[in-house]
């Protein structure tokens, strides 16, 4: 079972690194959104640094959606998913491995690159570090919630838009606690740790529920 998990993660990482992988693309999309905001708001540094964490989080939510629609669809089209259902490992392990690989190629680079993008919205050192930490803890929740939508739309052609409509409302709690944790680090009455622990709780719940739900959706879709 561990071997199947490792083989799947290695395969998906390798595929992401070859032609047509979406990891770098979602990072560029993240950069684009963050870079657009100062142009729209004008050069008001105080305003920018106040709403900076919110901008980074919104950009992260949107960038997570990039490539998510192909998470199971690509494997459904060429018959790989059929091959995976013939594996002795349960479908939940397959889903968990694929989502982990997806997070490693989209969510993790996003969190790691966010200090750099924090400069564009005039965040200072501690605020940048806090936002990066909330993204690191919170993006798994986004990916796992998105995986359920990806599994539901796996057999629908051009399911990307349906996927976004399905999963964006479910990402709201993660967004709320992600932004409030980052804002708490900027100063305020709430200690930083409170929203951060809720955020990590959300990620853990999403990992369990998302894996089971996505596997059930794939079985149901067969």
């Amino acid at each position: 079972m561990i071997r199947v998990f490792a083989a799947l993660v290695a395969r998906d990482l390798r595929l992401a690194g070859r032609v047509g992988g979406s990891g770098a693309l979602s990072l560029v999309f993240f950069l684009m959104i963050v870079a657009l905001v100062p142009f729209a708001l004008g050069p008001d540094l105080n305003l920018l640094s106040r709403i900076g964490p919110a901008i980074l989080w919104l950009a992260a939510v949107l960038a997570t959606l990039i490539g998510l629609d192909r998470l199971f669809q690509a494997d459904d089209e060429d018959g790989s998913l059929e091959l995976m259902t013939a594996s002795p490992a349960p479908l939940e392990i397959v889903v968990l491995a694929k989502v982990c690989a997806h997070w490693l190629t989209t969510g993790l680079p996003l969190a790691l690159a966010s200090p750099l993008f924090g400069l564009l919205v005039a965040l200072d050192g501690p605020a940048t570090a806090a936002t990066a930490l909330t993204l690191l803890v919170g993006t798994p929740a986004l990916t796992f919630v998105g995986a359920v939508g990806a599994a539901l739309t796996a057999s629908i052609r051009r399911g990307g838009l349906i996927l976004a409509v399905l999963v964006l409302p479910l990402m709201i709690p993660t967004l709320i606690f992600g932004v409030s944790a980052a804002q708490a680090a900027l100063g305020g009455t709430i200690p930083f740790a409170t929203p951060l622990t809720i955020l990590s709780g959300l990620s853990l719940i999403a990992a369990v529920v998302g894996t089971l739900a996505a596997a059930a959706a794939l079985r149901w879709g067969e």
């Binding site: 595929l15 060429d78 091959l83 594996s87 490992a89």
Partner: protein, 206 residues
Amino acid sequence: MRLIVDNLAVRRSGRRVFAGLSFALGAGEALAVTGRNGAGKSSLLAVLAGRLRPAAGRVAAEGVGEASIPECLHVVGHRDGLKGALTAEENLAFAQALLGAPRLAPKAALERLGLAHARALPVAYLSAGQRRRVALARLLVSARPLWLLDEPTAALDAASQDLLAGLMDEHRAGGGLVVAATHQSLGLADARELRIGAAPQPEAAP
């Protein structure tokens, strides 16, 4: 292993594809499923593979312990399950890790199929016949008793068809089972034939 199909009926989007299908297949036996286009050959294979729920009847396997039927079989069908961006060898190594019960190394399996030279090429660069041979090489990298083949000779040249017949004979000599949906003779010695014939009848409106 022994495969038992009892009074199977399949319905797809309200139309009965076939009904009352029964057969049993023991170790070393082969079954050629024939019938015109749309008769339900692929549907039968999908039911056997556990991907499609039958409307009635049952499929059972004996003598495989606790393994479920999908864990006992290889499927080679129209969708080949290969990733174009990965090389032939990487695809096979992944299939081996995924399916378990390793037999031949990916390299040796490709050599058996006459594709040793294409080992390090991305599958997207291969021709349809070569892709099919890479998919067939999957049969060799991990040992499973039941082979479900859907039009296995599609896109294969004559030499490769002979090669496939040899592989199937070898598999059956080792106690394996083969179920193949086909329009052509596959060169299977003493294979039984199951003809799915009747035209699909629309159900009367309830």
